[in-house]
């Protein structure tokens, strides 16, 4: 009897944590998204789809969705292209390339809050490093974090700076898995360096690219810390991304129903993306590789 129970006993602690803090909360969010509550009232009246309707009618939601999409559409390809390019230069196991990998990788394990604070200084109008450079070169100061378009650009820059090293490491792993003979064959065929890169490297590293594409899109849709620390979603909502909006609606406006509805929509979207990855892209990768 005990022997049969053994695997369950081993798995039980993890499964109970997952149940209590991941799966049950999904159901709770779903439940709360059909209700109206502000933490204060003793009751949570059922309001059907009102919260979803309110959300889809609100300018904030579409703004946050647009901003987040712009963030993802710019920052994801930027990260991947840069990372693939740099990774392909850092393949050799030399001291310099190892030091470079270390330097590039460092930000991705560093505190995001600290990075956000440091870059708030870099881009601060009066005492920042960027404006010191600009004025040194004879240009006038730029209000990086007060100009709506610039502020989003700054966030994309900081996020790329932080995550790039991780992408590079993954690409190096992917590139190192490519058999050397393929390169030799391409070289024998008289391929130029750029040609080999396009015809051999890029297709063969596709599975890695898809992996990175998925995780960086999912990440982009969950960006919060740099937004909260650097801009708070401002100026004028220009950097108000979805999770930032969720935090604001949930924990400063305490519209728990609306916040839950937003969480559920975002959840459905990201899960759909993950399934899309597994089904469609997964197959495509196998055909090509």
């Amino acid at each position: 009897m005990l022997r049969r129970l053994t695997p369950y006993l081993f798995a039980l602690p993890l499964l109970s944590f997952i149940a209590v803090f991941t799966y049950i909360p999904i159901l709770q969010s779903l439940n709360l998204s059909f209700r109206e509550w502000d933490f204060l009232s003793p009751t949570k009246p059922f309001v059907g789809l009102d919260n979803y309707r309110l959300l889809l009618d609100s300018r904030e939601f579409w703004n946050a969705l647009t901003v987040t999409s712009i963030f993802a559409v710019i920052s994801v390809p930027l990260r991947l292209l840069l990372a693939l390019f740099i990774a392909s230069r850092l393949l050799r196991e030399t001291l310099v390339s190892r030091l470079m990998r270390g330097a590039l990788f460092l930000p991705s394990v560093t505190s995001t809050v600290a990075i956000a604070v440091v870059f708030s200084w870099v881009f601060s109008t009066d005492y920042g490093m960027m404006n010191a450079l600009l004025t040194g070169l004879g240009f006038s100061k730029v209000a990086w974090l007060q100009e709506p378009q610039l502020a989003l650009g700054v966030l994309i820059f900081v996020n790329t700076w932080k995550q790039l090293g991780y992408d590079i490491i993954i690409y190096i792993a992917g590139l190192q898995a490519i058999p050397g003979e393929l390169y030799d064959a391409a070289a024998v065929d008289g391929g130029k360096r750029g040609h080999v890169f396009r015809r051999v490297t890029v297709p063969l590293v596709m599975p890695t690219t898809y992996f990175l594409l998925m995780i960086s899109v999912i990440e982009a849709f969950q960006v919060f810390t740099i937004v909260d620390v650097m801009t708070g979603g401002g100026p004028a909502g220009a950097t108000d991304m979805l999770v930032n909006m969720l935090y604001r609606v949930g924990f400063t406006l305490f519209d728990i129903g609306l916040g839950s509805a937003l969480a559920v929509l975002l959840f459905i979207f990201l899960i759909a993306l993950a399934i899309f990855k597994a089904r469609v892209l997964g197959r495509k990768v196998h055909y090509e590789a």
Binding site: E36, D38, F39, L40, S41, P45, S58, R59, T125, D126, A143, L145, Q146, P148, T231, G232, G233, G234, P235, A236, G237, A238, F251, T252, L253, F254
Partner: protein, 419 residues
């Protein structure tokens, strides 16, 4: 006989023990507030005085942040049952908490307290929501116009400069920015929310009607007022956008001598004199269409979840903090207005009025000061107004479009909250 004696001595012993137990059973009152710096020190002094008079009560004061932070933290604390016993609540934003019975109805306490006859009417009124008393005033304020005399003189302005209308403000701000812009000095601080409310009242309008509670965000005069305020930042560039994205930046730049004028609560008087000294000049608010100012500040509320004896102790403190002695100390240190009729007679207050130029300006405005209603929706409206203001001030969106939409949403939100 012996038995009786025994009984008596036991009774005496019990009484003795009982009283020592009571005396040593200190009552702790957890109190959340929003005062740092000069004001924080003054509050500590008031608390020390209270504890000296009431050795059985300890006030555990915690500075939480600004009024917004307190509202947020209190609301988050309710489901966690970790709310304090007493809390500073801004005068327009406690309605939600009163409506939801988070705050204790203090009417009986106030009725039994001689203090009720000593408070100025304007001050007593701020604590009343739907006919019941939920907070007792502690710090009352109206916005005033501060300017930096040194900057004014360098820009060729002075006491003769008119500062009555929007146009006057703009002209002076322009002159400062033009003359001193190269030194990094701008004309005026971007108005904070309290100042915005004041400037809207000056334009003979309001955010929400003080009598009927009607939402006036999209009234023509409100739109005109916002258009003027926004133009200071994005059109005329006489106010720095730094103060738009972060309200305190405007104030801090004024304190640092980087800004010529600032409209802000009289509660900043203490802080401003200590930063600018004799260069600080205080004037009444402009009167663009009419003279009108909002009454701001906060009072202390008591949580309905606390135990009765803690609530009693908390009320003792609340009443003490509004006494002439405490209020005079508070007024003279911070510049918040007297709320107690007997405060001005206090030596501290009299000395402040005689010696501190400008500290009385806010009081002078009481003749045309308006109370503001505090239905539950105000909490939501004020929390949401910041983003609207940013969009307008940074020139992202058309002012009347923003306000029309905001008014609609606020009305809808008010409906939802009523349910």
């Amino acid at each position: 006989m012996i038995a009786n004696k025994y009984k008596i001595s036991v009774a005496a012993l019990v009484a003795l023990l009982g009283s020592t137990v009571l005396a040593s059973a200190e009552i702790k009152v957890e109190f959340w507030h929003s005062f740092g710096g000069v004001a924080g020190a003054a509050l500590d002094q008031i608390i020390d005085n209270f504890e000296a008079e009431n050795p059985d009560i300890t006030i555990e004061a915690q500075e939480i942040g600004n009024y917004n932070d307190i509202v947020t933290k209190l609301q988050a604390a309710i489901p966690a049952r970790r709310a304090p016993d007493a809390v500073i609540m801004e005068v327009t934003r406690y309605g939600l908490f009163a409506d939801r019975d988070v705050l204790l109805d203090l009417t009986d306490y106030v009725e039994a307290d001689p203090l009720k006859d000593d408070l100025y009417n304007f001050a007593r009124e701020v604590g009343v929501f739907e006919g019941k008393n939920y907070i007792v005033p502690f710090n009352s304020s109206t916005p005033v116009l501060y300017y930096n005399k040194a900057i004014f003189e360098q820009a060729g302005l002075g006491t003769h400069t008119p500062l009555k209308t929007y146009d006057d403000l703009l002209a002076a701000s322009k002159q400062i920015t033009e003359k001193l812009g190269d030194d990094g000095i701008t004309g005026i601080a971007a108005p904070g929310q309290f100042a915005r409310w004041g400037l809207i009242m000056d334009n003979d309008s309001d955010l929400i009607d003080s009598v009927s509670g009607e939402i006036l965000l999209d009234a023509p005069n409100t739109i005109e007022a916002y258009e003027f305020m926004a133009s200071l930042v994005h059109e005329h560039k006489v106010a720095s956008p730094d103060g738009v994205t972060k309200e305190n930046n405007g104030r801090d730049a004024f304190l640092a001598g980087k800004v010529g004028m600032m409209i802000n609560s009289t509660g900043n008087y203490g802080r401003s004199t200590s930063a600018l000294g004799d260069d600080l000049v205080v004037l009444p608010m402009p009167c663009n269409k009419v003279c009108a100012v909002p009454i701001g500040g906060a009072g202390i509320g008591i949580l309905s979840t606390s135990e009765k004896e803690v609530q009693d102790a908390a009320y003792k403190f609340v009443s003490f903090a509004a006494s002439p002695e405490s209020n005079a100390l508070w007024f003279s240190e911070t510049g918040y207005m007297p709320i107690n009729k007997y405060t001005p007679e206090q030596p501290l207050a009299a000395a402040a009025l005689a010696e501190k130029p400008g500290i009385g300006v806010a009081i002078g405005q009481l003749d045309f000061a308006r109370g503001r209603p505090r239905p539950p929706v105000v909490t939501w409206m004020r929390a949401s107004e910041y983003d609207m203001w940013q969009a307008m001030a940074l020139g992202q969106r058309d002012v009347s479009e923003v306000l029309t939409e905001f008014a609609e949403r606020t009305r809808a939100e008010a409906e939802r909250l009523k349910r």
